[in-house]
């Protein structure tokens, strides 16, 4: 072999770049690890003089008790169910609002809208996604509940509380609609044009093409966008804390108030109880529960993506 090919040049900047890029990748992994460490060290096992949450309250009580009364000393009860019911009630109402609206918007933009129409529709939807969630919270509290829900439900002979899960679910649904619309529109548009032409050539109407060919072909991505939106709804904090109130009730009645996991965490972290008190420490147990739930949803959405993806040549 000639000497020019064997002499090894040490390229220092290459090594440096490799390290810099590795640090970037490692940063997000380290952050996740640190968060998990903080959650575990406060909830499961605390080093030193601190006593972790699950060292005082058994996991069995946490998972089976139906009362959430985070008090220090006598009378404190730590059953996660009221918070879970509040969280899922709001998330399901949000899905009921955002799935039809988001999917409909996506199909309209991709299959029906004139290109010029799409040019302004998409940015408008993205503006909706940019509104701070506090604003949505007050929108629910000051507009949706008194001006829409109250008259409507009174007409039906029902009453609605000032703080209620329904208005919270509706605004969270409005908030995540752009997420579903945007993600679904991307996957719907990636369905090859040739498939649509083939469907039209078989005598399909525009609706046949959308409902029988395009949406089924993009189904994996659409389902993944639903799950992602659901997971956002589960994690949504401010709008829900404002609109649904802070009363941890084990109820599936959307007309009453409720407290969600995130709502409680805001409440606990801004409260005035001592940092190592059990009421404060319970926040970490709730945090772990939330973490596990959203992780499970995200893994499920990834699995659906892989399992049902269609590969086009």
């Amino acid at each position: 072999m000639p000497s020019w090919a064997t002499r090894r040049i040490h390229r220092r900047h290459e090594t440096f770049i490799q390290w810099a890029l590795f640090v970037c990748a490692a940063l997000s992994v380290l952050t996740t690890a640190a968060i998990i460490f903080v959650l575990l060290s406060n909830a499961v096992y605390a080093p030193g003089s601190k006593v972790a949450f699950f060292e005082r309250v058994s996991l069995a009580e946490f998972l089976t008790s139906t009362q959430w009364k985070p008090r220090d000393g006598e009378g404190g009860q730590f059953g996660i169910w009221p918070l879970l019911s509040g969280t899922f009630l709001v998330a399901f109402i949000a899905s009921a609002v955002s799935i039809p609206a988001g999917l409909g918007a996506a199909i309209y933009m991709s299959e029906y809208a004139h290109p010029r129409e799409r040019e302004w529709l998409k940015p408008v939807l993205e503006i909706l996604a940019g509104i701070p969630s506090v604003v949505f919270g007050f929108f629910a509290l000051k507009f949706i509940t008194p001006w829409i829900l109250k008259p409507l439900l009174q007409w039906l002979g029902m009453d609605v509380a000032v703080f209620n899960s329904l208005s919270a679910g509706i605004v969270v649904g409005i908030m995540v609609t752009p997420l579903i619309a945007s993600l679904s529109e991307d996957v719907i548009r990636s369905v090859p044009r040739s498939l649509r032409e083939a469907a039209f050539a078989l005598g399909s109407t525009r609706f046949d093409v959308s409902a029988r060919v395009v949406v089924p072909a993009a189904l994996s991505g659409i389902l993944a966008s639903f799950l992602l939106a659901f997971s956002r709804a589960v994690g949504e904090t401010m709008a829900v804390a404002i609109a649904a109130g802070g009363n941890p009730l084990l109820t599936l009645n959307p007309l009453r108030g409720s407290q969600t996991m995130t709502g409680f965490m805001v409440h606990a972290s801004t409260g005035d109880s001592a940092a190592d008190s059990i009421s404060r420490m319970s926040m970490y147990a709730v945090g772990i529960t939330l973490f596990v739930i959203t992780l499970a949803i995200n893994l499920l959405s990834g699995w659906i993506m892989r399992r049902f993806r269609e590969v086009y040549q």
Binding site: S194, E197, A198, G203, R212, P216, A217, V311
Partner: protein
């Protein structure tokens, strides 16, 4: 023997048996045998016109791509459209079931009579038109569904729900498309797992299931291997007994094998249209002769 090798190398693979006239062969004006079912001496003058295009002009925006096309397609026969890339033959084909309506900014003038009805009339329902005039594309486009659901798509869209009616229809269409024996045991598996040639025959079966009278084929075999191409060509030979077929092809030998009538397009103009044997042996236009002998294109 030398000659024969040379002929093979130059792509003139066709049969030299029977001592075909050397001069004719050298000029390239020789025609391969047709596929079974296509009788190129068929007299179509007694056939009614399935499609009768009169003075058609077509524009993409300001850009005119078809100039004053007039062409008659006799029913139950095969018409091949040939010509170099970009000559407008595919665009012309797509006007015949108004697929170009899906493209923004296109305009078409003139008349196009399909069985006597002018399909350019705004009152024409394109959904019904496309059931009547089916289309097979260059790239096979199976839907990501089962083989059964692919073939049953058209009838279902048309409102057919009866399971046994659909099952019978799927079987008969797959048989007509010469695919039944290969897929009968896996009708409910994904169509995406079929080979390219099978997918294209599935697309033909799917088109047949809408019960069309006319089938438009846009280079249906250009992405397939020789064996699959052969099967598609034989299929065209079988189908032309009952259907009117218009096929766009880049492959001139294919055009001569499968068609009764050939139309040569060049730069948006219909240069010449006539019986396939005549176009390939004694074209009346110089441009046609130059094209089919491979002098350009």
């Amino acid at each position: 023997m030398k000659d024969r090798e040379a002929a093979c190398l130059s792509g003139q693979w066709f049969d030299v048996e029977g001592g075909a006239d050397m001069a004719e062969r050298n000029s390239g004006l020789s025609v391969p045998p047709s596929v079974r079912g296509v009788d190129r001496n068929l007299d179509t003058s007694s056939h009614a016109a399935a499609i009768d295009v009169r003075n058609m002009n077509f524009y993409y925006g300001e850009h005119q791509v078809l100039f004053d096309i007039s062409l008659m397609v006799p029913e139950r026969s095969v018409t091949a459209l040939i010509g170099p890339s970009g000559c407008g033959k595919s665009t012309f084909l797509r006007t015949l079931n108004r697929m170009n309506d899906l493209v923004e900014g296109t305009k078409c003038t003139g008349e196009c009579l399909v069985e006597g009805q002018n399909i350019m009339d705004p009152a024409v329902d394109v959904v019904l038109l496309r059931k009547h005039v089916g289309m097979v594309f260059q790239k096979s486009t199976p839907f990501p569904k089962s083989i059964f659901d692919n073939v049953a798509y058209g009838p279902r869209v048309a409102g057919e729900k009866n399971r046994s009616v659909l099952a019978d229809l799927v079987e008969s269409c797959l048989r007509k498309a010469a695919l039944w024996e290969e897929v009968r045991d896996r009708l409910h598996t994904s169509a995406m797992a079929l080979s390219g040639g099978q997918q294209q025959r599935l697309c033909i079966a799917r088109t047949l299931a809408t019960n069309p009278r006319i089938i438009l084929m846009d280079e249906p075999a250009s992405a397939l291997d020789p064996a699959s191409t052969d099967r598609i060509e034989n299929l065209i030979g079988e189908l032309c007994a009952n259907y009117t077929i218009v096929i766009v092809t880049h492959n001139m030998q294919q055009a001569s094998r499968v068609s009764h009538q050939t139309a040569f397009f060049f730069k948006g103009h219909l240069v010449e249209c006539g019986p396939t044997m005549q176009i390939f042996t004694s074209p009346s236009e110089k441009q046609t002769e130059d094209y089919i002998t491979g002098r350009f294109g």
